[in-house]
Structure formats: structure tokens, C-alpha cells
């Protein structure tokens, strides 16, 4: 399939997804009992106040009309106002997303840096002790309940052996760097604030590791499997028969070919990341999208839930598009024909 048609197909899918998500979430929000006006006006609000708030929110209009308004808002990039934080959802997302992305990217980098070598070693020394150990680690990663693992690590490294911080993004008292990207690591470097940099790096370690652990398992497993496939390929045998060194055979011939199918994994990893972030952030009091969405769900803050869902699915589709394109660039067969 050609590059352009892939992009076009994805964009059409995007429209589908957003429409689907909008319809699903909107329907759900109107099925669930729960008066959004009460969230705003409080437990003891009078009937008049509730009516007034409802009118302000447009909840007095017929459902169909509300949907039209919602879609119109959506098209103009307005995700509505959160009932809980009383702020524009888009603004909230812009505020909380960088923290989640910073955590997620750190976790992904960590998972790749550990998972790929582990998977490669595991495949090379198949059935050996390294392989067995790597398989245990990867299965443990895949099977680990993130929320529990987080607690365990906090107990260990924050409470019992207090060497790592257990919550938040930065040490109290150190000012957060001026917001440019919203990534503390980047912003603090830009601002030249090394203290903030080290502190936020320090705070990132535990939550990123917890989040990385699950992905690490998946990556290790995938790399191991595709390495095993590739190592059986004729061209690896050719490379060996031509006397290429072991490292050249593995790093230049086997690994690149094993990595190509693993790229698709990145798309999946993004999904897992969101999933994991929801839980990890709750445990580590990480001020990101995860804790935002959990609170939103617990309070049935529907504008926020809908906004998040739409943004997340959009992100998912876009990431997968990026993954597909990367795939195309990496695989010469598709690239040259495309």
C-alpha cells in the first residue's frame, strides 16, 4: 500500500473514530443517572439554583439538540467545561498531558533500553539461563498488576530504604521550571535550572520504572520471538557462512530485521501506556492525565471523560499512523514500492 493511501485511510479512520467515540461517550453520559448540575451547585443547592445551573450547562434542551451543540463545539476544538475543575477540558488536558507524556516517554525509553537487549540475549542464548531469567522477567512484567507493584516499590524505596521519592514530579520547595513544553526535564534544562532537572529526574525514576516494567515484558517477549525467527533465516546463515563476526551478524543482519515487526508494538505500547498511566499516576500522585481521568470517572465528570477519550483515541490513531509510516520507512520493500 502506498504511503499516501495509508495516510488517507488513517485520516478517514480518524473521522470514524472521533465520531464513534463522540457518539458512544455522549450516549453514555446521558444514560447514566447523575445530575451534572449537582456537581457544580453542591449537595445542598436549592431547586432554583439547580435549574439555573442546568440551564447554564444547556442541560434543559432536548438531547438531540445537546448533541448538535456538542458536535459543533467539538468541531471548533472546544471540548466543553469540566464539571469538577470548572475549567475548559481542552485547557485541563493541555495542562496535564505533558506530565503523562513525560512519564510515558521515560517509561518507554526505559522499557526499550532494557527490553531490546534482554530480548536479543534471550534469543541468542535460547534455553540457557539468560533466556530463562529473561522469560521470567518478561512474564512477570506482563503479569504484574501495576497498581500493586507501585505500592510495593514505594514501600521498599521510599519507606523502608528511603532513597527515592514516592510521589509528585519535583521536590517540594524547588520551583517547577517555567512552562515551555510542560516536560520538567526539558524545561529545566532550557531554563538552566539543574537543581530542578535532577529533582524531576529523581522523581521520575520509580513511576517510570513501574510503568516501564509491563512494557518491558512485552518488548522482551516480542524481540525474543522475532529474533528467534530471524536467526533461522537464510540470510543470517549466509552472513555466518561468509565469516562475518558474531556482532556483525547479530547487530547488522539479525537485529534490524527483528526490529521491524516490533515497531508495530510501539502503537500497542501507547495503548498500554495510557492504561498503565491511569493506575501509576494514581499511586504516585503524578499530576497527569491518568489521575485526572480517574477523578473524572469517579465524579462522573462527563465533559472531561469525553474530552479525554476523544483525545486519547485521536492520539492512538495518530501514533499508529506514525508507526505505520515508520514501518514503511524501515522496510525497503514497502518504501521503494510505495
Amino acid at each position: 500500500m502506498s504511503l499516501i493511501s495509508t495516510i488517507l485511510r488513517r485520516l478517514v479512520l480518524l473521522v470514524f473514530v472521533v465520531a464513534g467515540v463522540a457518539i458512544i461517550t455522549f450516549t453514555i453520559s446521558h444514560l447514566i443517572p447523575g445530575d451534572p448540575a449537582q456537581l457544580i451547585a453542591g449537595d445542598k443547592a436549592s431547586a432554583q439554583t439547580l435549574a439555573h445551573v442546568r440551564q447554564e450547562l444547556g442541560l434543559d434542551k432536548p438531547v438531540t439538540q445537546q448533541f448538535v451543540i456538542y458536535v459543533k463545539q467539538l468541531l471548533s476544538g472546544d471540548l466543553g467545561q469540566s464539571l469538577r475543575t470548572r475549567r475548559p477540558v481542552a485547557g485541563d488536558i493541555a495542562l496535564f498531558l505533558p506530565a503523562t507524556l513525560e512519564l510515558g516517554i521515560a517509561a518507554l525509553v526505559m522499557a526499550i533500553m532494557i527490553g531490546v537487549p534482554l530480548g536479543v540475549l534471550s534469543a541468542i542464548y535460547k534455553d540457557g539461563p539468560v533466556d530463562q531469567a529473561a522469560r521470567v522477567v518478561s512474564v512477570a512484567g506482563i503479569s504484574m498488576p501495576v497498581f500493586w507493584f507501585g505500592l510495593a516499590l514505594i514501600l521498599l524505596f521510599y519507606v523502608k530504604i528511603p532513597i527515592l521519592p514516592g510521589s509528585g514530579r519535583i521536590t517540594l520547595g524547588i520551583a517547577a521550571p517555567p512552562r515551555i513544553t510542560g516536560f520538567f526535564l526539558v524545561d529545566s534544562l532550557v531554563a538552566g535550572d539543574l537543581k530542578a532537572f535532577w529533582s524531576s529526574l529523581y522523581h521520575l525514576i520509580l513511576p517510570a520504572f513501574v510503568l516501564a516494567f509491563a512494557n518491558l515484558g512485552i518488548i522482551t517477549r516480542q524481540i525474543r520471538a522475532s529474533m528467534l525467527d530471524v536467526l533461522q533465516e537464510d540470510y543470517v546463515r549466509t552472513a555466518r557462512a561468509n565469516g562475518l563476526s558474531r556482532s556483525a551478524v547479530i547487530l547488522r543482519h539479525a537485529l534490524p530485521n527483528a526490529l521491524i515487526p516490533s515497531v508495530t508494538l510501539l502503537g500497542l505500547a501507547f495503548g498500554d501506556l495510557l492504561y498503565g498511566a491511569v493506575l501509576t499516576e494514581t499511586i504516585f500522585a503524578w499530576p497527569g492525565m491518568g489521575s485526572y481521568v480517574v477523578s473524572s470517572i469517579q465524579t462522573l465528570d462527563f465533559p472531561a471523560i469525553m474530552g479525554f477519550t476523544i483525545v486519547a483515541s485521536l492520539g492512538y490513531v495518530l501514533i499508529n499512523l506514525a508507526v505505520d509510516l515508520t514501518y514503511m520507512v524501515l522496510d525497503p520493500q514497502i518504501r521503494e514500492l510505495g
Binding site: E233, D234, Y235, R237, T238, A239, R240, A241, N242, G243, L244, S245, R246, A248, R252, H253, P256, N257, I260, L330, D331, P332, Q333, E336
Partner: protein
């Protein structure tokens, strides 16, 4: 004709080898002996599964680690035992002194790297050449393979080339470091006859012009007959017969060789039943005692319950069949 008198490059004596599997050991080789001298083209023929590839992969130690176990006999490659070489020493032998061309050209090249890169990589691995020199050497090699636009081909990825073209690239790669020995494991089986003819011609031409010895593995008697100086006929992991091509074809000494030649449809009158070898290869898990061909042999008798040695029956001819051995002894 006599055996060529060059240096012995490869000598395999009485090699037995098994693969350990869940069903028990598969006795893939049961005492193979063969040798290859400098400058000659040696053919190895036999049915599928009779151990042709395993023999030669054992010689270059390319068999999967752990699965294959040598249970007897030995190998000497350029005078040393490849099983005793270190991985590093082995890497310098492979490609530099002995290269291998495999059967499936479709998968034998790395799909994600350009042809040129792959050839240059091999050249630079074994020779002190800079990138430019190696590149020009590579394009020269490709030109030798009758590829008219080597520069374009070197920029291409394997999937852009036809099977015949890829096989030519692989041959060029095999010859790139002027090895003393090339092992060609059914290099033309997957190709069309027209392309096969071209490839065979190229191998023969290149080998004779560089003086490289070639071990040519095939299951096609006719192909081998066109190319090889000497022939080994393998059956169930043993050599059934060996000798110069002409003499083996003219007067096959082993019933197996005879049957292999006669069952070809080209030699029989049209529509008439072909001579057939009944049955199939013995189960190598549990090979029968005695001559391994006995169960399928029309001439088998009581003598065949013991294993016939590979004995000289004529100058430069050897066969592992009691009938011929005794005839020779009688003569």
C-alpha cells in the same frame, strides 16, 4: 582418469553425526568419507534427506548448535579440525577460505540492506580495502557474473531482483575473497532451466579461471554430469559410490546409482513404465542393520546384512556394495 593430485582441502573420514530430538537421535550421517582437492569440482548427489547438506554444513560448522552431535569420524578443513577452532578463527576461515552458496536465493540476502552494502561488507571483513576499493571490486565481481549494470544492482534491495539475479549476486559474494573452496548447496534447484544453465556456466567458468575448488551439491544427476570432475553418491548418510563423473555415469557400480540414473524419464521410451526404486529412505531414527539400501535393492542377498565398506573397485573408483567389491576381489 586418475584423481587430481592437488592439495587436499577438505577431508572427511567416516563421519557420523546425529541430531538429538524428542523421538531419539536422528542418525543423519553414518560414516561419510570424502575429500576435495584444490582446483577440482566435486559433485555430491543423492535423494532428499540423504545427508548432503548436513555433511557440508558440518565441514564449515554451520549446523545449529546443540542439536547436532558428531558421534564418529573426523573432518579436516585446510588441515585443521573445524570443530576445534575458536569462533573467531572459524570466522576467518569462512568467507576467506571457504564460502557457501545456498539453495534458496530468495532468502539468502538480507532484505533490508542494499546489495552493494552486503557484498562490500564481506569484502572488507576479509581484505584490507577501503570502501571505494571494495565497492569497485564488488562491481567488478558482479560484472564477471554477466550483470550489465552492476552499479544499479548494487543500489538495489534484494526484493527488487529476480531469483537468478540474486543467485548471481550470491555467487559473486562467495568468490569475492578468492576462497580456495566453494560449497554450492543446490544453488540452482529453485531456478528455471534457462537460468540454471546460466548459473552453472558462471560457476564453472569462475571456478576454472580462479582455480577454486567447488563442492557442488545436487539431486539432479544430469546437472552434476555437466559440471563435475568427480562425483559422490550419498545414500542415507553414507557414500554409496564415488569416482570420476564419466566413469560413474558410464558404469554405475552401486545399484542405487544405477536406479537413480534409470528412473529419469528422459532416458526411457515415452509412455513406458519407468524403473522405480521401491519404498523410501530408511528411517534414520532407527536405521536397519547392514547395508542401508538393502530393503529397496533388487539385488540384495545374504551378504548385505553386514555393512559394506566403501572400497576401491577400480583406480579412482570406490563403491559400497558387496557384489562389486567381491567382483573386484575376484578379478
Amino acid at each position: 582418469m586418475t584423481e587430481p593430485s592437488g592439495d587436499v582441502l577438505l577431508e572427511i573420514t567416516d563421519l557420523s553425526l546425529e541430531f538429538r530430538t524428542y523421538r531419539g537421535p536422528i542418525k543423519a550421517l553414518n560414516g561419510v568419507s570424502l575429500n576435495v582437492r584444490a582446483g577440482e569440482i566435486v559433485g555430491i548427489v543423492g535423494e532428499s534427506g540423504c545427508g548432503k547438506s548436513v555433511t557440508m554444513m558440518a565441514a564449515t560448522r554451520l549446523l545449529p548448535k546443540g542439536a547436532a552431535h558428531i558421534t564418529g569420524g573426523g573432518i579436516r578443513l585446510f588441515g585443521s579440525d573445524p570443530m576445534k577452532l575458536s569462533e573467531r578463527e572459524l570466522q576467518h576461515v569462512r568467507g576467506r577460505q571457504v564460502s557457501t552458496i545456498f539453495q534458496e536465493p530468495m532468502n539468502a540476502l538480507n532484505p533490508t540492506r542494499r546489495i552493494g552494502e552486503q557484498i562490500v561488507e564481506v569484502i572488507r571483513r576479509h581484505q584490507r580495502l577501503d570502501n571505494a576499493a571494495a565497492t569497485s571490486k564488488a562491481s567488478g565481481l558482479l560484472r564477471d557474473m554477466l550483470i550489465s549494470e552492476p552499479e544499479r544492482i548494487m543500489q538495489a534491495y534484494p526484493f527488487e531482483l529476480s531469483g537468478g539475479m540474486r543467485q548471481r549476486v550470491l555467487i559473486a559474494m562467495a568468490f569475492s575473497c578468492e576462497p580456495r573452496l566453494i560449497i554450492a548447496d543446490e544453488p540452482t534447484t529453485a531456478l528455471d532451466v534457462t537460468v540454471q544453465a546460466l548459473i552453472l556456466g558462471l560457476i564453472k567458468h569462475k571456478a576454472t579461471s580462479t582455480g577454486t575448488a567447488v563442492v557442488f551439491i545436487s539431486h539432479d544427476m544430469a546437472v552434476v554430469s555437466q559440471l563435475c570432475d568427480r562425483l559422490y553418491v550419498l545414500y542415507a548418510g553414507r557414500v554409496a559410490e564415488a569416482g570420476t563423473t564419466a566413469s560413474v555415469l558410464a558404469a554405475p557400480a552401486h545399484p542405487y546409482t544405477r536406479a537413480l540414473i534409470r528412473c529419469l524419464p528422459g532416458l526411457a521410451p515415452p509412455k513406458q513404465p519407468l524403473e522405480q526404486i521401491p519404498g523410501t529412505l530408511p528411517d534414520l531414527l532407527d536405521p536397519p542393520a547392514g547395508c542401508l539400501f538393502r530393503a529397496r535393492c533388487r539385488e540384495a542377498d545374504d551378504r548385505c546384512v553386514s555393512v559394506p565398506p566403501l572400497a576401491a573397485i577400480e583406480p579412482a573408483r570406490r563403491a559400497a556394495c558387496w557384489r562389486r567389491i567381491e567382483e573386484t576381489q575376484a578379478a
